[in-house]
Structure formats: C-alpha cells, structure tokens
C-alpha cells in the first residue's frame, strides 16, 4: 500500500514529467531518430561519390580513425585526426576561459543596474547578432588587416604600420571566437546573478570581508550555475566551429568542424564523417560522465 505521501510524490513526479514531455518528444522525433539513422550510416560502406551503400556493413570508418595506410603502403597509427581533435579542443578551452574572464564582470555589471536599464543593456548585448556571422567576420578582417583600422590606430602610438600582422594569426582567431561566443556566456551568468541580493554583499563587507572574500563567498556561488550553463553553450559549439578559424586564421589548419564537413563534401566518405562526429560525441560524453561521477563522489563525502 502506498501512503498518501508517496501518492502525492508520485503525482508530483508525473506532473514534472508532463512538463518535460513536449520538449523531449520534439527532440526524440526530430533529433534522436535522425541520429539513429546517422549511427547506422557510420557502420556502412561509403558510396562511390558520397552517400552510403545500404546493407553493406563495415567498421572501417572507426578503424580508419586510428589506423591508416601511408603512401608507402604501411599500416601505421594515424595521428592526423587526433591532432585535429586536440587543436579544436584547446581552442575551445581558450575561448571558454576568455569568455568567462570578460563575461563574468560584464554580467555582474549588468545585474547591478536598475531594472529598466538592465533589460535595455541585455538587448544591446544581442543587437549586433541580428547581422550575419560572415558580415561580422568581414568587418573584423577589415579592422585587423595590415593597413586596416587597428593597424592605423597602433600607428598613432608609434607602432610601424604592418609590423604587427594581426590578421591571419591565432590572435585574430581568438578575437573572432570571443566576439561570436561572448553573449552565450554573459546572458546565462546574468540570469543567475540577477537574483543577487546586494544587501548580502553589503552585509559581508560589514562583517569585515574583503573584496575577494565577498566575491568568493557570496557572488561566485550564486553565479556558478550560470557560469556552467555559459561554459556549456560556449565550449561545445566552439569545439565544432571552423568558419572563424578558416577566415581569420588563414585556413592552414583543419578543425573538427571542417574535417567532418569535408567527409560529407569532396571527401565523399559519409560513414567517416558520421564516425568522427560520434567519436567526438563519446569523448564529450566521457568527460561529462567523469565529471558527474566526481560530483557524486563529492556529494557522498559531504
């Protein structure tokens, strides 16, 4: 027999599941099902010029992720893909850290404005993104190139023109990535911080806390969920981004994103493209799982 308490809890749970259901149904039908097809594709033989040969199964795509035949026909360990994964990974890490460093103070500033001003500033964060990515990147190219506006401005301070070489460098790529992803860090942190009761901070100061203590004890814990959400929204899309490195970095190095794209385009190897995507996927999943286990461990200890 269930107690009334258990019944109430069950009803509560059903209600919550009902709230989750519409979104989940949408994603299950239009994302999980298509991805199941893709998983199948990754285990098929590639068609001659793109597509797949239905019914001809093979694990070739996953094997070629690790092993390849070199030009002298020796079977060797393939470091190419791992190298490309590593490059994308570090770029995504750098973008996330950069976004946190600029995004957190900005979000704090936004959260401390009066309510009217707050919403206005919030909109102002997103207004530039009504324009297209490509146009924004072109504007940056114009600013950063030798003889461009930034170069000219540096010239005023006595830096000889063209000596910095801003465009087509990793610096330019970083600027482009930060520019594209900052709102995805600022807005989630802001939503967490917005409920900050500043009197708590005042109280902390009154109790003799210094700035770092107030920051660490009162503000950061409150901002943490937002920072995590922001980091997710920046890190994972940055991992797959390739247009900005391509345009601002000079296109001399592949990223995961265009490696996968290549397989669906002139590489004519859809299974490999799908397999690369699922490998990336499992890597991130492993990282999350590891993180989850660690968190659970901490909870148990606490």
């Amino acid at each position: 027999m269930s107690t009334p308490r258990q019944l109430a809890e069950r009803r509560q749970l059903l209600r919550r599941l009902g709230l989750i259901a519409p979104g989940m149904a949408m994603l299950a039908v239009f994302l999980v099902a298509p991805l199941a097809i893709m998983l199948l594709v990754s285990f098929l033989q590639p068609g001659e010029y793109g597509g797949v040969k239905w019914g001809e199964y093979s694990a070739e795509a996953y094997i070629s992720f690790f092993y390849e035949r070199d030009f002298d026909d020796n079977l060797v360990f393939n470091t190419d893909y791992l190298g490309i994964f590593q490059r994308s990974f570090w770029l995504a890490v750098a973008t996330t850290v950069g976004c946190l460093l600029i995004g957190f103070p900005t979000a704090l500033y936004l959260a401390l404005q009066s309510e009217k001003k707050r919403n206005l500033l919030l909109f102002l964060v997103t207004v530039p993104f009504w324009t297209n990515l490509l146009v924004r990147v072109y504007a940056w190219m114009l600013l950063l190139r030798n003889g461009g506006l930034v170069d000219g401005a540096l010239g005023v301070f006595g830096v000889p023109e063209g000596s910095v070489g801003l465009l087509y460098s990793s610096g330019a790529v970083m600027i482009g990535l930060l520019y594209s992803f900052l709102p995805f860090m600022v807005l989630p942190i802001y939503t967490s911080l917005e409920k900050l009761d500043w009197r708590l901070v005042e109280a902390a100061f009154d109790l003799g806390a210094n700035r770092w203590q107030a920051l660490k004890r009162v503000i950061l814990p409150l901002a943490l969920p937002g920072m995590l959400a922001g980091a997710t929204l920046v890190f994972i899309p940055a991992l797959g981004n390739y247009i900005i490195p391509e345009l601002l970095g000079g296109g001399k190095a592949l990223m995961i994103g265009n490696l996968v794209q290549l397989q669906f385009g002139s590489g004519h190897n859809w299974p490999l493209g799908a397999a690369l995507a699922f490998s990336l996927f499992s890597l991130v999943l492993l990282a999350l799982l590891f993180n989850g286990l660690r968190q659970r461990g901490q909870e148990v200890r606490a």
Binding site: G50, D72, G250, G251, K252, L254, G265, G267
Partner: protein, 347 residues
C-alpha cells in the same frame, strides 16, 4: 439552355486557360547568389509568363549531398561539370526532352560535344571559366613571371607570405599534378606523395588558403599572387591595372557550370522553357555581363560588354586554347588519396 451554352463554354475555356497559365506558372531555380542577374529573371517572367523564384546554395558539394540525402524540390540547378557525371551516375538528374530545346543549335562549336555529357542529354552550359593564378606586376621581382605554375608552387623568396591558394583540394591538386607532369587522377601513392611534398613546401610560402574575398585581396594589393578564377580576376583588374592573369603552360583547369533538371523537379515543362530561353544570345550575354564570366553561346559576343569580351583572361586567346584542360572525373580511389593529402597538409 441554348443560350447558356456559350457562357458555360466560355467559363470552361477561361478555366482551361487559367489552368494553362498556372501550369506555365512557376519555376524553382537555384543558383549561387549573385551569379544570376535579378533583372534577367524579371525579363524571363515578362517574356514567358512563368513566375520564377531563385534560391541559393553555396557549393557543388552541398548541392550533391542535399540531392543524395533526398532533398530539394528545385526545377533547375547549376552544378559544375565536375559534378554532372556523378549526378548522372547516381540517377539524380532528369533526361532532357531535346525537342523542347531548339536553341541547343546556338551552342558554340567547342561546346557542342562535351566529354562529361556528350549529347547534352542532361546538361546545358551556363557560364564557364578557368582556374589559373594572377599576380601583381608591381609587386613581383622583375615585374613579370613565367607563364608556368612554377612561380606559384615555388614562389621567389621575396614573395613569402604574399601568396594565396584557393581553399579547396579540387582546385589545388590538379594544377600541382600538371606542374609535376603527373596524371591528376593518379592512383599511385608514390606519385601522390610527390604532390604532397610540393604542396607542403608551398604551404610555408603561403599567406593563407582562402577562396573568399580573392577580388578584394588582389585589388587592394594586400597580397602579390593569388590562385584565382578568371571572372574574379577580371573584377580585380578593373580596380588595379597592374594585375596579370596567367595561363600556365603546363595546363590550366576549366570549369563549366551547367543547367540541369534534378529528379523530383515538379515543373519540368517550365524548366525546359527556361533553359531554352537562356540559350538565346542576348539573354546569356546579360548573365555574362553580370557575373563576368564567358558563355558558350555563339553570337552572344555581340551583346557582351566590350571590356569583358576583350579581356584575354575571359576570352581565351587562340594560342592559349591548347593549355586548357577540361574536367576529368577521377576514380573514388584517386579522390580518397586527394582527401588524404588535404588532411595531412592541414593536420
């Protein structure tokens, strides 16, 4: 009753006519943005009464992938020659009803019979061009370079960091093969290795791989040498007169973009009307003048801008014609080797 009949008849007639007008109603045309003049589409609508919409796509590769995955209800699309054979092989295109394309007779002699579609059963040329390279005579040592791929693949030391290659292996691999005297469709790993070595040496000298903004970079003198399509070169030269287009003696790839009707097109009749209409000299010339590429229709030169037609980069001089290399479809094995080179080059 008797009096009513004409009325009923006229109603039927009117319905029939409007039905016909609807059947001649619409055309879904997809092409690269800015590769087809909007005014020309308006003229087509006025001439034929067919309502046309123009959609955009960014590359042959994505168009192929989209058609293969089962998508797109376009009536006419414009893939490059390199994709026609694949699309025919994969059963993605509809065969023309040539009785509806009388203007096929307008094709210039060199375009009457093309290797990738000898009888024009599936495709008709829209515009064509070459993929060579250009340099700024004001920036290169001596002001003049050999008509060869040599200066591009092994640039003089002064030009380090001032050379740009197109960012696509299908644009870069064939000229490297021409330069080394290797078959561009080679399946021999040792030969491919030589091409790989040439490209990695060149990479150190390059400023970047980039297929966008080639016009601006050359026009602004930002770089000294650029692998480039001839139409893009023409636009850049309009802004900077010291630019020179090179037809390398080892061979230069041509591309022909073609009208085709994909399987699954709903307005096949209108598609034929459109393609036939585009083969009239004055219409195709308007497209050339807009996009700055040459066309395949005899008699169109009368309607083309003089500056465009007189540019040797656009209208290839007689003595350079033998340098042109039309597209050749390579085996999947050869293409897999190409992909490998590209991945290793940029790993």
């Amino acid at each position: 009753m008797i009096r009513r009949t004409p009325l009923a008849l006229s109603v039927v007639l009117a319905l029939g006519l409007s039905g016909a007008a609807q059947a001649a109603g619409s055309l879904n045309f997809a092409n690269w943005s800015d590769y087809y003049p909007p005014e020309l589409l308006k003229k087509f609508e006025a001439d034929t009464g067919i309502k046309a919409t123009l959609d955009a796509y960014d590359s042959n590769e994505t168009l192929l992938a989209k058609l293969k995955a089962g998508g797109g209800n376009y009536d006419v699309v414009v893939p490059s020659d390199s994709f026609i054979q694949i699309m025919v092989q994969e059963d993605l295109l509809q065969k023309f009803d040539k009785s509806k394309l009388p203007n096929l007779a307008n094709l210039a002699p060199t375009f009457q019979k093309l290797d990738f579609d000898p009888g024009h059963d599936y495709s008709v040329p829209y515009l064509w061009g070459t993929t060579g390279y250009s340099y700024d005579s004001a920036q290169v040592p001596g002001g003049k370079l050999d008509e060869s791929w040599g200066p591009f693949f092994a640039p003089p030391a002064e030009l380090k960091g001032k050379v740009v290659a197109l960012n696509s292996m299908d644009d870069l691999f064939p000229p490297a093969a021409f330069y080394l005297g290797i078959d561009r469709c080679t399946e021999d790993p040792q030969e491919v290795k030589k091409i790989m070595e040439l490209l990695s040496q060149q990479k150190d000298m390059l400023a970047m791989y980039n297929s966008d903004g080639t016009i601006e970079r050359m026009a602004a003198g930002e770089v000294a040498m650029h692998q480039q399509w001839n139409g893009a070169f023409h636009r850049a030269k309009e802004q900077r007169d010291s630019l020179v287009y090179v037809y390398p003696k080892e061979g230069i790839s041509t591309f022909i973009d073609n009208f085709v009707i994909p399987k699954g097109a709903t307005n096949v009749e209108e598609a034929h009307v459109f393609i036939n209409w585009m083969m009239q000299p004055e219409n195709i010339a308007a497209a050339s003048n807009f996009a700055k590429y040459n066309n395949a229709i005899a008699g169109a030169e009368k309607f083309m801008d003089k500056a465009l037609f007189d540019d040797p980069a656009i209208n290839t001089p007689q003595d350079k014609l033998e340098r042109l290399r039309s597209f050749k479809l390579c085996s999947p094995k050869a293409l897999a080797l190409r992909t490998k080179v590209w991945t290793k080059l940029k790993k």
